[in-house]
């Protein structure tokens, strides 16, 4: 698998888009730090961008890479390689190079602004870790969609819809349900609903770690009690891990049965 990963990774490292993505984060990091001149505040602004943008890029890149490397995949399928090796290798190549762009693009400006001397380092690390998780989750979901849809336009459409649903529509439905059922105790429900969406989960996790949960009122207190603790952090990371493993597992299973 490492060989396929290596080739996919090199292939992406040579593509223009990896650099565009890297430069975008680099520019974003510098601009935010220049405007805020405060690491902690920049981390909060950055979170809002990352939470929405990272899944979108992961989804689009994943689908695009999968369809574009169709010929490469067919070439590999005739070689003495396991199918899961081919697809997982490509997947980790894409997700890995995206994560690298994210880490380097944001890491460089923050380090230059004295990240290691500030107390924002933990929050910043958490931000990068959730960013990495989101990249792996959404790239895996995108690969699944592309594998199940021969038609590129359809596959692309479903992938974008999935992102739209998890990033925007899910929150709307969530809020709506809170209003409709406001008579009932909803702490447990909202906790569960947050867990079911990797974007929401990441957002809540970072918000509460950033200690601005006081803004969220009673629900904020419940959430803080849960996510704010080490146990909550652990559970959240486990759920994120679960979100990552599930689509990867499906990818390995589905790829075994597909005709090329």
């Amino acid at each position: 698998m490492l060989k396929i990963l290596k080739y996919s990774f090199y292939d992406l490292m040579r593509s223009r888009w990896s650099y565009v993505y890297f430069l975008f984060y680099l520019a974003l990091g510098f601009v935010l730090l220049f405007l805020n001149n405060d690491l902690s505040k920049a981390v909060i602004t950055l979170m809002n961008v990352i939470i929405v943008l990272v899944p979108l890029i992961g989804t689009i890149f994943g689908v695009m890479y999968f369809y574009n490397s169709k010929e490469f995949t067919e070439l590999l399928l005739a070689q003495p390689l396991r199918r899961s090796t081919i697809f997982l290798g490509q997947y980790f190549g894409v997700a890995g190079s995206l994560t690298l762009s994210l880490f380097l693009g944001l890491g460089v400006p923050f380090v230059l602004y004295g990240l290691f001397k500030s107390d924002a380092i933990f929050n910043f690390t958490l931000l990068l870790v959730t960013g990495a998780f989101l990249t792996f989750i959404f790239t895996a979901l995108a690969f699944n969609i592309a594998l199940s849809n021969e038609n590129r336009i359809k596959g692309f459409g479903y992938a974008v819809l999935l992102w739209l649903f998890l990033a925007v529509i899910y929150d709307g439905l969530f809020l709506l349900s809170l209003i409709v059922f406001e008579e009932y105790p909803l702490d447990k429900f909202s906790l569960a609903a947050t867990m079911c969406n990797p974007i929401d989960l990441s957002r809540t996790l970072i918000l509460l770690k950033l200690d601005i949960s006081a803004l969220l009122g009673y629900t904020g207190a419940v959430f803080k009690k849960f996510f704010g603790t080490d146990f909550g952090l652990l559970i959240s990371l486990v759920v994120l891990l679960f979100w990552t493993i599930l689509p990867i597992w499906r990818l390995a299973i589905k790829s075994k049965r597909k005709d090329f």
């Binding site: 010929e71 067919e74 070439l75 005739a78 003495p80 390689l81 049965r257 005709d259 090329f260």
Partner: protein, 236 residues
């Protein structure tokens, strides 16, 4: 070498293979023929494990290929249309395939034979169809595997290269290899094939030598014999 029993494959509503029975003995050149859409490529891809059959078994070198992948070490495959990733260079592609297969290879001899040296640093996307096919041939013939599967090997080749390809095929046969070839060019088939497997409507309609085929259809040349089979079945 290859033993296929009761092979069925359906794509959606389209039944492509319906009960293929085929035994390929070791050594010699087998031409797989049949009209468009008769399931030639599907049959080949089933042997390679790229298409998963609905029912039936395939044994390659006495092992069932279901869920296997190691047996592909013993197969060199030339795909139908040289559809390569467009952004890598010819030399890189050759090195990559060598790296993946980890077998001794003799690509330099073939590169010289087909005059590909000036293209080694060119990206695959910029090559013409014929040049791509030459690269394809180098990638297939550079290893020494007992089974070779060539899907439309003559596509896009100029007469000089075609002669070189035929010579290569003969050389491989003399080494005692088994070759499966599909082609629509009957002159080529007549020149190289020892035996013909004719697929029709997802079944093996005829298997035997070229002479037998001519006798069976009362024709003097292969092209007419093959056409005669197609005519008979459309009349019937």
């Amino acid at each position: 070498m290859i033993q296929i029993d009761n092979l069925h494959k359906r794509f959606g509503k389209n039944q492509v293979l319906s009960g293929v029975e085929l035994t390929i003995k070791s050594g010699g050149i087998y031409a797989i023929l049949g009209p468009n859409g008769s399931g030639k490529t599907t049959l080949i891809k089933s042997i390679l494990g790229m298409v998963i059959p609905n029912t039936g078994t395939i044994n390659v070198l006495d092992t069932n290929i279901k869920n296997g992948w190691r047996y592909r070490k013993e197969i060199d495959y030339l795909p139908q249309i040289a559809n390569f990733p467009s952004n890598i260079r010819v030399g890189e592609l050759i090195r990559m395939i060598k790296d993946l297969r980890q077998k001794p290879s003799e690509e330099n001899k073939l590169i010289t034979l087909f005059g590909l040296e000036p293209f080694l640093d060119k990206k695959l996307g910029t090559l013409s169809g014929g040049t791509k096919q030459k690269v394809n041939i180098v990638l297939t013939f550079m290893f020494n595997s007992p089974l070779m599967i060539l899907d439309e090997p003559t596509t896009g080749l100029d007469p000089g290269s075609l002669i070189r390809l035929k010579k290569l095929i003969q050389e491989e046969k003399e080494k005692g290899k088994t070759l499966l070839i599909t082609s629509h060019i009957m002159q080529f088939v007549e020149e190289v094939a020892d035996e013909i497997v004719y697929l029709l409507e997802g079944k093996v309609y005829f298997k035997g030598s070229i002479e037998e085929l001519k006798q069976k259809t009362d024709q003097v040349d292969v092209e007419h014999a093959i056409a005669a089979i197609a005519m008979q079945t459309t009349d019937a």
